[in-house]
Subunit: 301 residues, 4 copies
């Protein structure tokens, strides 16, 4: 239920305002030297602390949640490594919730926030952690990015890369206009949807299964599990009357680049209403999360 994958399996845990979020990544090959800086860089992208290429003229990051940018995201590695090299045993890690401010949320204790999962949580579990949405929070995705970062390094040994980019905000597809658009939306106290495109290079032919575990089905499952993601499509639309391969035929990779797009909805909780610390466009910080989920799927083979 909180585990994804069969061979490379990721189990995710942690409430957004509890002690920590974290995960266990099982099935990682032994003797892989981990590049911790690369993982930290993906965490910084997720937090909106570094500029995504092509999204800024000014050298400034796109506007995102203040909490995310302020949270330190320091990883404690608990198992599975010896001197930075994988042992083949489960890799467990946590990121403590240093920036949690329960007092911000105390006021929400009896308020069901529109569009949030609070109500369904209470219906399902009879209890919910009102402190920041509990599990149903962007905070949970920190652990995905760490696990996905390791998955990317597993793939890199086979020459496989996974790269996402923000290709649309609202109806805007000119990336040089994203910053200005987001500032406008932010000033208006509104939020806006966006689209992430992800390209996976270097996958050999033969990955995926012909019936249920089609590669596009597994990618759809993984990506649609990200908070706020509302659609998934593999990109083989005709271009100038020519059909362009999405890298998958009959559920199985064909050796071409695998390309898919996914759309994120506008944020449910409007900034002006709750004074919260939410994103004006969750698609912005979703880029490394989409990459992480795609990398976990491709590595799980």
């Amino acid at each position: 239920m909180n585990t994804i994958g069969q061979i490379v399996r990721f189990t995710d845990f942690g409430e957004s305002h509890g002690v920590a979020v974290g995960g266990v990544l099982d099935g990682v090959p032994s003797q892989l030297k981990i590049d911790f800086a690369a993982i930290q860089h993906d965490l910084d992208r997720r937090a909106g602390r570094v500029v995504e290429s092509g999204t800024s003229d000014s050298g400034e990051c796109l506007p995102v949640s203040k909490r995310a940018q302020g949270e330190k995201d320091e990883i404690e590695w608990l198992s599975g490594l010896l001197d930075g090299v994988t042992l083949g045993s489960p890799i467990a890690f946590i990121i403590r919730n240093t920036n949690a401010r329960p007092e911000d949320y105390e006021a929400l204790k009896d308020v069901y926030r529109e569009g949030h999962a609070d109500r369904v949580y209470e219906q399902k579990y009879g209890i919910r952690d009102y402190r920041g949405g509990g599990r149903a929070s962007a905070r949970e995705t920190v652990a995905r990015v760490v696990a996905g970062g390791i998955a990317k390094q597993i793939l890199a040994k086979d020459g496989i890369t996974v790269e996402g980019q923000l290709v649309q905000i609202g109806e805007e597809t000119d990336r040089t206009k994203f910053a200005a658009l987001l500032e406008d939306v932010q000033r208006a106290g509104e939020s806006v949807g966006g689209v992430v495109e992800c390209r996976i290079k270097g996958v050999k032919p033969g990955l995926g299964e012909p019936i249920f575990d089609k590669l596009q089905a597994r990618l759809a499952y993984a990506v649609m599990s990200i908070n706020g993601c509302r659609s998934f499509e593999v990109c083989d639309r005709d271009a100038n009357g020519q059909s362009v391969s999405c890298g998958i035929v009959g559920g199985i990779s064909d050796g071409n680049d695998i390309v898919f797009r996914c759309r994120f909805k506008a944020t449910a909780t409007k900034m002006k209403e709750y004074g919260g610390r939410h994103d004006v466009c969750i698609a912005v910080r979703a880029v490394p999360i989409v990459e992480a989920m795609a990398a976990l799927v491709i590595a799980d083979n």
Copy 2:
């Protein structure tokens, strides 16, 4: 790999031009009286032998593959039933491939058909069943419709219904114009894509999991596993500035109708090139298959 589901689990087998296609549905509650006619009706819909509501003024079916319409699709029930009532044990069934014409395909033995999975199959398995594409064929979906038909009857006991409809062919969204459009495309020896919308009514709040097994992720996985399906989206776009629920919040059902759409690409194999028996628009016959996959997901809880 050829199994979907955890509690209600469906295992699918069979090559399109082998002895039979079939499946095993495990986890069905005991003491369910099976309505065999309803399952046969879904098979007839899949074969294009009955008119989908709203798609015809003339009372004629939309044009589909001749093979599909001609195949008898008689189900042999092998286990799990006693006097038409489920025993709680696995329900196995087969549908023999009575209309297989290997001679049609003998000519293709050494031909890789553009857009078909033939080449990747040979790369993956070192062998392929050239007789009609083996597993990578619409024929395989017969078994899905049977299993999905049982799943619908499991759900019906809880007041849940699953209904799909064809809502777009090419760019056309006026259903009364579908028949004429398809005839034009067919005459031109071309094929065209389409969109199926599916509505699930009666699901109680609480279905789905908050992180990876979000309900939309599981639906996306199941639907994207259908041959030719290229995109999946949950339908909660704004309508007149109002956000409309897609029936899922934070991965969990909220009690509203669950609505999603999926797009099927144009058929890979053009009729004029191979003289084959393929569909001019695979989305037409996909409607009961989409329903089947959705029903299997919702029943698997």
Copy 3:
């Protein structure tokens, strides 16, 4: 629930007095030429139609159930094969229940047989197939032997063999005395337990997992799932003060022969009480079933 294995997965179906028993074996490598005679030979061993080596001076089989010996056990292959060679797709097969005699069992319709699972089945499912015990019957093991026969052939390509033998009946361990002992027990209308030893040769070091999926745990699971099996042990007891390897260290194969023993209880239903067609010692025919389960475990890697 009716599936075992992760990579090589076997799904089993069929009631003992329904249309057929059968199974689906998924994950078999492509391009394996199947030796059908070897599989039929294992079915004949399971039926007590051939002499197990070392168990007979007279050239006669040990006494077993008349039904088993009389049932023809003809396999119908439904999918996954082309000209006797595996395609890499699921291999489905059935064995029809030609020798079922529902009238024998009609009388039992309202009788709970002591030691049989009839009562718990009714408690669990609210219905049971009184025709011969439904699923809780030795008949179900036919499908295991077929699937295990394929698994053995997968293993044989890697030089791995799986061989079981009956090493104890009651307290008797001298195999040349088994036939006489069984005849005595049969005449008395009683039944008796027995022990099967299984030796797996040729497994390379490294199979198994260090924590839960220890090789001995997976073997225990598979073997304890056979009807009537009451104990499992890996055989590394001291021999003359020397510890002898059972082929598994810390859950992982070490390259030595893997040896385990399992004990089968005396048959629950006494022959004299019901006039049924049961075995005097179920361990006799269990030998190829134990081999099948062990082969499925070792092949599932």
Copy 4:
């Protein structure tokens, strides 16, 4: 691979001389008030810090590993709880390895200890954590006891109890003689095997599946995954000519007490040879571990 269970799922991590051992228990119902003292008590039993009932006249614990007794085993709860009540989300916890003494093991860096999994680990992973055996260590079982302690509390709500006891050491079955026997063995620098019996009371009829997931098969799998466990048997041997139920019929619970026994081998590493801190009889401290594994199986339904 490092996960056990389907509905209540336990994932285990940690090297014995790394930062910590720990686990994630997923699928625990929400709103369960956790009795932390009961879990700590089981950890104290596992460490040999409290007397098992019936094993001591003197009030002293049976002799066990000094490391185990000295290790503090303080649990840090990372997620899944709010004010000591379960949220329905994954419960993650760690126990830091405060008493690790890498220097003791530095000497073993290039030594393969007889009977230890060191050699097969290196063959499997190409690397091993020589610091105390890495994963292949009794230390790993701390996490099992914590998870099993929660599972017991899930079961207690349904009136189910799981109780193990040491019933045999070497050939000795008189529990009042265990302490003296163990002291003799310890003085001789030897080790000895033992047998644990476990009784599960209060399970309603209907638990377990009829074919592969027979209740005894799942128990065997779970118990045989404990380090040093060599055999498993369900206890329905005849008593005075009367067959006594083991609580399982045809793979399914029948409402009677479920009773099984498991045998642990003598410790591989002799104390006198390595000056290590190993147990003279690993069965002694295995009692709460066996209970934990049984509780996890019964709760996973």
